[in-house]
């Protein structure tokens, strides 16, 4: 893990966090260090948020850097722009840490080109569940502003996966990072975490001179608490999914609509393998299966899709929670996938989105793995 910077630019202003961040983004546009900024913005009907790539500085005033909800994953938005190759424009993307980690995973799958992209993250207090927000957008806004003001990282109304997220702050992969840590007079720090970050800082005439160790310790405390909550929640999840019957019971509401797959940033396939002819080709086998088993549930392969998607993408899962938001029958898909991802990634000692160079375990193998398999075989024979 790269050493986390200890110095930052102190930003103290009477404005609230979001306006201060927008000011800095404006500076970036003015100084031509970036040509366009990707930020969330409220939709005209004021009932949701959308990712807008802003080039014209005037538009930036309506930006809402820390949006209360995550309707679209930032990595998916960035991928829709830069999948087809390096763009001439230099882009800065202001995203939540889990969105930045998803972008890194997508870059390893050649779905995002990071050549001209500056990744800016911020301390994320979590996001509200879509369902609650959509019921009453105004109430959601007030609740989130309150969380931001008090920097209440233990608030109960945020998404379940955010409650157990211990990677909500600075990451080795982000170029710049806004710390939201509260000290009496509402100050905020901007840390540069890579050469590109330092370059942008220089271009907008800022100098990282203040130590941020107080912020770092504060964040570490919250991380330890979150990690403990995570362990506790995972033991509950374990009971929900271990063994075929409990898996069946947990997913009994599933209607096979694959919303979780469309919302997921890692699932980039235009046609999911479980919709391809390889799985659905045996349509007239339906009758055969029904005869053999006495009855089959329709539509078919609903559980196979869930387990299959786990096997395909859990190594890159960043636990961003969009799948639960998208699920019409409110199955806790995000927490289940986060639990599975935790275990599969531990198996390969790989943590998704943490470092650019490391290839995805699915695409390579290390020698010890082969030895591991040998031992498994020998144990089986013994």
């Amino acid at each position: 893990m790269k050493k986390i910077q200890t110095k930052g630019v102190k930003i103290s202003s009477n404005k609230d966090y979001r306006d201060s961040i927008v000011d800095i983004l404006k500076k970036m546009l003015q100084s031509k260090s970036v040509d366009a900024v990707l930020v969330p913005m409220r939709v005209p009907a004021k009932d949701s948020y959308a990712w807008i790539l802003v080039k014209d500085e005037k538009l930036l005033t309506e930006a809402d850097p820390a949006a209360p909800i995550m309707p679209i994953q930032g990595a998916r938005a960035l991928s829709s722009f830069s999948r087809k190759g390096q763009s001439m424009l230099k882009i800065a993307a202001l995203m939540r840490p889990c969105e930045i980690r998803a972008t890194i995973e997508l870059s390893k799958l050649n779905q995002v080109n990071l050549e001209n992209v500056t990744l800016i993250s911020y301390d994320c207090p979590g996001a509200l569940p879509m369902e609650d927000y959509l019921n009453d957008p105004e109430k959601g806004e007030k609740k989130f502003n309150d969380i931001l003001k008090k920097l209440d990282f233990q608030n109960k109304s945020i998404k379940p996966v955010c409650k157990i997220c211990d990677q909500f702050s600075l990451l080795p992969v982000s170029d710049l990072h806004f710390t939201l840590f509260h000290d009496q007079n509402n100050t905020m720090f901007l840390i540069a975490n890579s050469n590109r970050g330092n370059l942008v800082l220089k271009e907008i005439g800022m100098e990282a001179s203040h130590t941020v160790s107080a912020w770092a310790n504060g964040i570490q405390e919250i991380k330890d608490k979150r990690a403990a909550q995570k362990k506790g929640r995972f033991t509950q999840i374990k009971k929900m999914v271990e063994g075929f019957n409990s898996l069946l019971a947990t997913f009994s509401d599933c209607i096979g609509c694959h919303n979780c797959q469309s919302a997921c940033p890692i699932c980039y396939c235009r046609q999911c393998y479980f919709d391809s002819e390889s799985v659905t080709s045996g349509t007239d086998l339906t009758m055969l299966k029904a005869k053999k088993r006495g009855s089959i549930s329709l539509p078919q392969n609903r559980i196979m899709f869930q387990v299959g998607r786990m096997s395909h993408m859990s190594l890159s899962c960043v636990s961003c929670g969009l799948c639960t938001d998208a699920c019409p029958v409110s199955i806790p898909v995000a927490e289940i996938f986060s639990y599975v991802a935790h275990n599969t990634q531990k198996q390969f000692s790989y943590s998704s989105g943490e470092n650019k160079g490391e290839p995805i375990p699915l695409k390579t193998f290390k020698l010890e793995e082969v030895k591991g398999i040998q031992e498994l075989v020998e144990d089986a024979e013994a």
Partner: protein, 367 residues
């Protein structure tokens, strides 16, 4: 003339007897219907071939986890037909799919019923189905709309199946919990159910008996449509309504009419490369990513709205709670009226897009 079976049992029990008879005596190769799953309070559609497993079948429950018409479409090859118990809107979806050669009528014995509307998915999620059922049963028997059914069902005029092989009379059947009346329309149904020893009489199914219900539902539909103000505000109206759309295309995945393996809006034709996006960005100063969420809605409206049955599945699965089915029904109905076309009414009635009539040119001429 229709043949009427009357069974001295509750409607659902009588229908289950019929299905058991069909399966036990090998008259059908399988039964497709709703059933209870192992988990208490949860239901799913199932294709059952072993008569013993018919005991937890609940064919007339007001639930629609998926559109059954869409499921029947990809079952192609079988020796004998499958008896399927489906709602009128699911039957009309299946007919629309048959018109697009995505299914075969002769594969099925289609049993439908006069539908009192379906409960939303949240009912099963919150395990309220069993508690709601008794009240639901009484209101339907009385011919009214149960308050918790889905909005789109309250606005449904075609609750009487057009061309099922057999229709179970449920809506407005006062004695529903003691006698089960099933009308056999097609010869196939009569022939298959010849050996079913129950009281059989000749009678004509009276479609007009439901005009009063139909009026009420039509009125409800008008109000529902009024709430959607798309047509008079153009693109801004669309942006207001579909602003929340995240482009996940869930609505097209569950829609019975959207049968394409690769939707044109998901294909590479809409993968713009950087130069196009950069030009758009410099022209407008800002660019929504991922783009084309509104274009997709307009596209889907133009591709399939005239065939929209109004089964309500798209609203159920929309993660942004957009009332998609109401919008598509409203737009679809406007288009269908021009062609006097009711989707799913009659399998021989061709889809408006595929044919044209001479008089259409005159109208164009007039304008």
């Amino acid at each position: 003339m229709d043949q009427v079976l009357t069974i001295k049992k509750s409607t659902e029990a009588g229908l289950i007897d019929l299905l058991t008879y069909l399966l036990k005596n090998k008259k059908v190769s399988g039964v497709c219907s709703l059933r209870k799953t192992k988990k208490q309070g949860k239901f799913d559609y199932a294709l059952i071939t072993d008569p013993e497993l018919l005991h937890d079948v609940v064919p007339l429950h007001p639930l629609m986890p998926v559109n059954a018409g869409k499921m029947l479409s990809n079952m192609i090859k079988m020796e004998m037909p499958v008896a399927a118990v489906i709602k009128p809107c699911e039957l009309r979806s299946f007919i629309e799919l048959v018109k697009r050669s995505q299914g075969k009528l002769e594969n099925f014995l289609l049993i439908s019923y006069t539908c009192g509307g379906a409960l939303p998915l949240t009912a099963t999620v919150e395990n309220k189905v069993d508690t709601m059922l008794p009240d639901y049963g009484k209101t339907v028997a009385a011919g009214n709309e149960f308050e918790h059914i889905r909005e789109i069902c309250k606005a449904c005029e075609y609750f009487v199946p057009f061309n099922a092989d057999a229709t179970v009379s449920l809506l407005g059947e006062t004695g529903a919990d003691s006698t089960c009346k099933i009308f056999l329309h097609s010869d196939k149904a009569k022939e298959i159910l010849q050996g079913f020893e129950v009281e059989k009489t000749e009678d004509e199914f009276d479609r007009t008996g439901y005009d009063q219900i139909r009026e009420r539902r039509k009125k409800y539909k008008e109000e529902l449509f009024k709430q959607i103000k798309i047509q008079d505000t153009g693109l801004d109206g669309m942006i207001d309504v579909f602003g929340r759309c995240i482009g996940c295309h869930a609505c097209s995945r569950v829609c019975p009419i959207c049968y394409c393996v690769l939707c044109d809006f998901e294909s590479s034709t809409y993968d713009y490369d950087n130069t196009i996006m950069e030009q758009e960005l410099s022209r407008k100063g800002g660019l929504r990513l991922p783009s084309d969420t509104i274009l997709y809605q307009i596209g889907r409206l133009s591709h399939m709205s005239f065939s929209c049955i109004g089964c309500g599945q798209c609203t159920e699965v929309c993660p942004s709670d957009i009332p998609v089915s109401v919008i598509f029904r409203k737009c679809g109905e406007k288009v269908a009226e021009i062609f006097e076309y009711i989707p799913g009414r009659d399998v021989n009635e061709q889809v408006p897009v595929t044919i044209f009539k001479e008089e259409e040119f005159e109208e164009i001429g007039e304008e």
